[in-house]
């Protein structure tokens, strides 16, 4: 068993891959709690696709693909914030428009590249085993940056998510904080590309957070549990990928999904089984208690 666990560590690419996916798993899970609570599940997907033109441009200019992705994601995040400010149009509508536009631009640019190489498919589906030491450093720096910002602005992000009206009456810069959160999300998405790819980032943002929501009652514990689930899915997904020779990103997401399903069925209080067992009788009792109070 021990050798089963340590054998992959003999390879440098596995060490780097495990470290990268561990960081990404934790990062996605923590910021994903806000994504779940604010009902922005769509945004991870949108940002992930929106980075395509950035990558294509960087590729054409022979620049760093990650930097290109980063610039595009931040631009789109700001665009979403701009179009949906003051509720001119709804946030999910703004996301839909920009996501499709950026994706189209990306496809258009890529179609001009005659022989686009492996690099681009790696961005689409992730290639955690191709993580270089430089990539690892960038991933580490961005992970620390995003997590530190979330910790520093914990109470501000909490108020603007739960009750933006209160946030305004407390004279917090609500718009500014919303942009900041979108930018943090953009950074997270870009960091995640290497491990899970464009197609699966959304799952890493949403699934651990949604699972933790079923198991916990307060935001700090929800974030901690989500981080644990994210970390566990990342590591075990990578081992599965190593031993069964399957795509790593997909394995990671499927492990997370399996944990979600287990929580959905068996979570105390909120799980499907628990709800079913409590049944109708309990609902009647609750109503009586409410009248009494």
């Amino acid at each position: 068993m021990i050798t089963w666990l340590t054998a992959p560590l003999a390879y440098g690419f596995m060490q780097r891959g495990l470290l990268a996916s561990l960081m990404v798993g934790i990062l996605c899970a923590v910021i994903g709690c806000y994504v779940v609570l604010r009902g922005m599940a769509f945004i991870g997907d949108a940002l992930a696709h929106a980075i395509l033109p950035g990558i294509a441009i960087a590729y054409l200019l022979k620049g760093n693909l990650l930097i290109g992705a980063l610039a595009a994601a931040v631009l789109v995040a700001l665009g979403i914030g701009f179009f949906s400010r003051q509720g001119t149009i709804k946030e999910d509508t703004a996301i839909g428009i920009l996501f499709a536009a950026a994706l189209s631009l990306g496809v258009l640019l890529i179609s001009t590249i005659r022989t686009y190489a492996v690099d681009l498919t790696h961005i689409l589906f992730g290639n955690v085993l191709g993580v270089s030491t430089g990539d690892l450093r960038l991933t580490g720096a961005l992970t620390v940056l995003v997590l530190a910002t979330i910790a520093l602005f914990y109470k501000e992000f909490l108020v603007i998510s739960f009750d933006p009206v209160l946030a305004t009456t407390l004279r917090l810069p609500v718009e500014w904080l919303r942009y900041l959160m979108l930018i943090l999300l953009a950074l997270t998405v870009v960091v995640s590309l290497q491990t899970v790819g464009v197609g699966l980032v959304a799952a890493m943002l949403v699934t651990p957070g949604a699972t933790a929501y079923l198991l916990t009652r307060r935001l700090p514990t929800m974030m901690a549990v989500a981080a644990l689930i994210g970390a566990f899915s990342s590591i075990s997904g990578l081992y599965i990928s190593f031993y069964w020779n399957v795509a790593s990103g997909a394995a990671v997401v499927l492990v997370a999904t399996a944990i979600f399903l287990a929580a959905f069925l068996f979570a105390p209080q909120r799980g499907a089984l628990w709800q079913w067992r409590r049944g109708r009788q309990q609902a009647v009792l609750a109503q009586c208690a409410e009248k009494e109070h």
């Binding site: 609570l37 520093l152 109470k155 501000e156 909490l158 108020v159 998510s161 739960f162 009750d163 009206v165 209160l166 305004t168 009456t169 407390l170 004279r171 917090l172 929501y213 916990t216 009652r217 307060r218 935001l219 929800m222 208690a289 409410e290 009248k291 109070h293």
Partner: protein, 271 residues
């Protein structure tokens, strides 16, 4: 975001609103509203759906811009005293499935005075505990908010507003669809606030409540129809003017067809 605070907490506030108009997308919602609220008075804001009651409150907490005129608190323009106005919104305006406990929500009332990057101090925790006790929900402090009844939610919101230690308290329809115990608790707290000379404005559909428990009544329908004591304001002529076709006149008395159970869409549009 910090300015000097020349006022002590709970200092009675004078509120002056003069010639204030508000428009949504070019449509006037409030026209030329003028009224003065003396120190520590308790005012009921009464009017039909769409009269602009919520709009008036949102202007007073700086959520909406207004045109013309001026709003003075303690004789200073609105926004000068940063955190002296607290607003209790209608309950359905937040997502009660959020993973928070009752004391987490009440603590948010302290965030305004905490400042950036600061964690709540012992003093803040003490204030939260006091406000929970005042609303008789100290036993619910660690309860997740998704388990609360409507009346309990209303108490949590009021406790949070108390934690802001406001000079002026605005409450939007706090008496809609709550149990009698909660209504009595709110009334008791309003009496305590009167003792502390906190100025209170409450919008309500309940004319009896407005007449029985408030110093003054503001009868509103896009403009001020009447302002004064309930006896002065609730005349047949003025009620007719405010409620129009919704008013049913029965002999000597007037009976308002209550619209507190209006469809959700209508209630939203009034906001």
């Amino acid at each position: 975001m910090k300015t000097s605070r020349p006022l002590t907490n709970m200092q009675p506030a004078r509120l002056e609103i003069e010639h204030v108009s508000v428009a949504y997308n070019g449509q006037p919602v409030l026209c030329d509203v003028t009224f003065h609220v003396p120190h520590g008075a308790r005012v009921a804001v009464v009017g039909p759906n769409g009269a602009g009651k919520s709009t008036l409150f949102k202007v007073l907490v700086g959520l909406l811009p207004w045109h013309g005129g001026r709003i003075l608190i303690h004789g200073q323009p609105l926004g000068h005293h940063h955190d002296c106005v607290a607003y209790v919104p209608q309950r359905e305006e937040v997502d009660w499935r959020f993973p928070l406990t009752v004391s987490d929500v009440v603590m948010m009332g302290r965030y305004g005075r905490l400042g950036w990057l600061k964690r709540p101090t012992k003093e803040d925790h003490e204030a939260v505990r006091r406000c929970l006790e005042q609303m008789r929900i100290a036993d619910l402090a660690q309860r997740p908010i998704q388990e609360l009844s409507g009346g309990q939610q209303q108490r949590v919101f009021l406790a949070r507003a108390l934690a802001q230690e406001p000079h002026i308290l605005l409450m939007d329809e706090p008496f809609t669809a709550i149990d009698i115990t909660t209504q009595e608790t709110i009334m008791a707290v309003l009496d305590e606030l009167r003792a502390q000379q906190v100025t209170v404005l409450i919008s309500t559909h309940d004319l009896n409540l407005a007449a029985a428990h408030f110093d003054r009544v503001l009868l509103l329908n896009r403009r001020v129809i009447g302002y004064g004591t309930a006896q002065e304001v609730f005349t047949q002529k003025q009620l007719m003017e405010a409620f129009g076709g919704q008013l049913l006149i029965l002999g000597e008395g007037a009976v308002v067809i209550d619209q507190c159970c209006a469809p959700e869409a209508q209630r939203r549009s009034r906001a």
